[in-house]
């Protein structure tokens, strides 16, 4: 298991000697409790990346998280910050209301693909278009995870799910939606990137993108969006290693990684 997978089974404290330097620890914005996520799921890693960004900029005491519905909803169990739970798909609207009321706070939503790209498509597009100064963490694992692996708007063509048992067919279900590219076309979007977590190199880029999104929000740059390609071994019917391989072989070719929009300070005002 890679050390990037945070959890109780990987404790540095146990091996620590007085003359050894601590190089890795739980971010202080995360509570010291085990994740409920399935083995090999990337949610735990994504939680860590967000918590690291909050710690890095010392934002814990002024950050408010808005959880979507799905596996993402338990954000409030793990983050040691103020959190709210939004109705399915509505996290960007809830974040809009909160940020308008408390414009000096840092507000982020944490949403899955069914939540954001299906039922919440209207809210995410309009929130981005208004340039709301919030950060959206979008976890794209190509399935509805919590409800048991149904077809999502991001399910790949040919991918079998519990509601596309013969594989997703574009004649019936249309095509997988590329959210990072769609939102990058909107004037209100300041930052839109897609990253993956399947390799150490990709993870470092993901960490940088999440940190940049929060930094841009701190600088009132507008709407920031990070899409993270995430493994769901349970609903993909793969072991964690094979699931990571699928991210590389199947997801990344259709959902290319990169920064699709990055507003520079000078072109904002």
């Amino acid at each position: 298991m890679s050390p990037y997978f945070e959890g109780e089974n990987f404790s540095f404290e146990r091996h620590r000697d007085s003359d050894m330097k601590q190089v890795f620890k739980r971010p202080s914005s995360l509570r010291d409790i085990p994740f409920h996520f399935c083995p090999g799921c990337h949610h735990g890693t994504i939680h860590r990346l967000v918590a690291e960004a909050i710690d890095h900029y010392h934002l814990r005491e002024r950050t408010i998280g808005i959880a979507g519905v799905g596996c993402a909803v338990f954000v409030y169990e793990y983050f040691d910050i103020d959190t709210a739970e939004a109705p399915h798909g509505r996290a960007p609207a809830v974040a809009t209301g909160l940020k308008r009321a408390l414009s000096d706070r840092i507000v982020f939503t944490y949403q899955g693909d069914g939540d954001l790209a299906s039922i919440g498509m209207s809210e995410i597009v309009h929130t981005a278009n208004r340039g709301e100064n919030i950060t959206v963490i979008f976890v794209n694992n190509t399935v509805y995870g919590m409800t048991g692996g149904q077809m999502a708007p991001t399910t790949l063509l040919g991918q079998q799910t519990t509601t596309s048992p013969y594989g997703r067919d574009f004649n019936q279900d249309g095509y997988p939606i590329r959210m990072a590219e769609i939102l990058a076309t909107l004037e209100g979007t300041a930052f839109s990137a897609r990253v993956a977590l399947n390799t150490p190199a990709n993870l470092m880029k993901a960490k940088k993108a999440v940190r940049q999104a929060f930094e841009m929000q701190m600088n009132d740059m507008g709407f920031t969006f990070v899409e993270l390609l995430s493994a769901c071994p349970t609903n993909w019917g793969l072991n964690p290693i094979k699931a990571n391989e699928r991210v590389e072989k199947e997801l990344i070719p259709y959902f290319p990684l990169g920064v699709f929009k990055e507003r520079k300070g000078s072109d904002h005002f």
Partner: protein
């Protein structure tokens, strides 16, 4: 004496809301309530507030949820079909115990219906409206003055009970102009908002949620909400007029009550001893007051602009030997006073 204004119902409501400290308005256009967002769009910036035209009623109600979670006084307004779209969010507000004010300047339905006044949304407003076992406080103005006064009261009651509150007006009340005493906002004594999401600085993190998965938690939460709804009973408000010698009482709210008042004048002129019972809170319904009246008056008629909704609450409230009748004027236009008088005379 307070300054007198001449105002439209919708605008009087918005004016009262701003006086009561409402600084966040989120809404979506729909007739016949458009004067409300238009008023806020002109005036919110003057009080350093925020007017935002949302992309839908679904978004509006969730923006309210966010602003309310942040501790702000926030409201939205809409009309019947738009309020239907908000029901999911209202259920979440109730489950999460967040204060919010939702104004329904009703039109007729079902479906796209029409833009004329109706009281067809009584059940939706008083029975929760969305999924789950919850209630909202429901205030029913019957004049421009009350559109203004109840708007001010609404924010205090919503905060006091940490609960969404619905103001159930209608197209007539929203669109008509009347004189208005410019009464000041007199706040109730309210508990501090120590539950808001403002960033966990120097305290433990706060959490706003309505999800309860652990064994027994959901049941406990529902009973806690039930206790709260029971405690709201003391907020029941109503108007009783000409009941002292009455042989019969008309029960009516909102625009129906105004028409009923004229019908009662006609009846009195003809020697019929008729009075009025007008609930101002539709939830909590003033059942005790009605029960007390029914110990003496044995005949009631519920007059509504629908096919029979509030009449169920009247029947549930009165003494067992009281006789409850109904006169309904189905949505389309308000009834004529003569028509209501004929209905009164028939059962008197």
């Amino acid at each position: 004496m307070e300054k007198r204004l001449f105002m439209k119902g919708n605008e009087a409501l918005a004016y009262g809301a701003i006086k009561a400290g409402c600084r966040y308005y989120f809404g979506y256009p729909i007739t016949p309530q458009n004067d409300i967002p238009e008023y806020f769009s002109r005036h919110m910036s003057k009080v350093e507030g925020c007017f935002l035209q949302a992309e839908s009623e679904v978004a509006s109600i969730n923006m309210i949820l966010g602003a309310s979670a942040g501790g702000a006084r926030a409201m939205t307004s809409s009309s019947s079909p738009g309020v239907s779209l908000m029901q999911e969010g209202i259920s979440y507000l109730a489950g999460s115990e967040l204060p919010a004010v939702i104004v329904n300047v009703t039109r007729s339905g079902p479906g796209l219906g029409g833009i004329s006044a109706s009281q067809g949304d009584y059940f939706q407003a008083t029975r929760g409206g969305g999924h789950g076992d919850y209630r909202t406080i429901v205030l029913a103005p019957h004049s421009v003055q009350e559109m203004h006064d109840l708007a001010m009261l609404a924010f205090d009651l919503a905060d006091l009970y940490r609960n969404p509150l619905v103001i159930l007006a209608d197209a007539v009340l929203g669109q008509m102009n009347e004189t208005l005493e410019d009464r000041p906002y007199r706040p109730l004594e309210l508990p501090p908002k120590d539950w808001t999401l403002t960033g966990a600085s120097g305290r433990k993190p706060n959490l706003i949620k309505s999800l309860y998965l652990k064994e027994g938690e959901m049941e406990k939460h529902n009973w806690k909400l039930f206790e709260k709804y029971q405690s709201m009973k003391k907020e029941s408000r109503y108007e009783i007029s000409r009941a002292e010698d009455a042989q019969m009482l008309v029960a009516a709210f909102g625009t129906s009550a105004r028409v009923a008042k004229t019908a009662i004048q006609i009846a009195r002129a003809q020697g019929l001893k008729v009075g009025l019972f007008r609930p101002i809170t539709l939830y909590p319904f003033p059942d005790q007051a009605l029960l007390d009246l029914s110990r003496r008056v044995k005949k009631f008629i519920s007059v509504e602009m629908n096919t029979g909704q509030m009449v169920e609450d009247v029947k549930l409230s009165v003494a067992r030997d009281a006789d409850v009748h109904f006169y309904g004027h189905a949505p389309g236009s308000p009834p004529d006073p003569e028509e209501v008088f004929e209905a009164i005379k028939k059962v008197y």
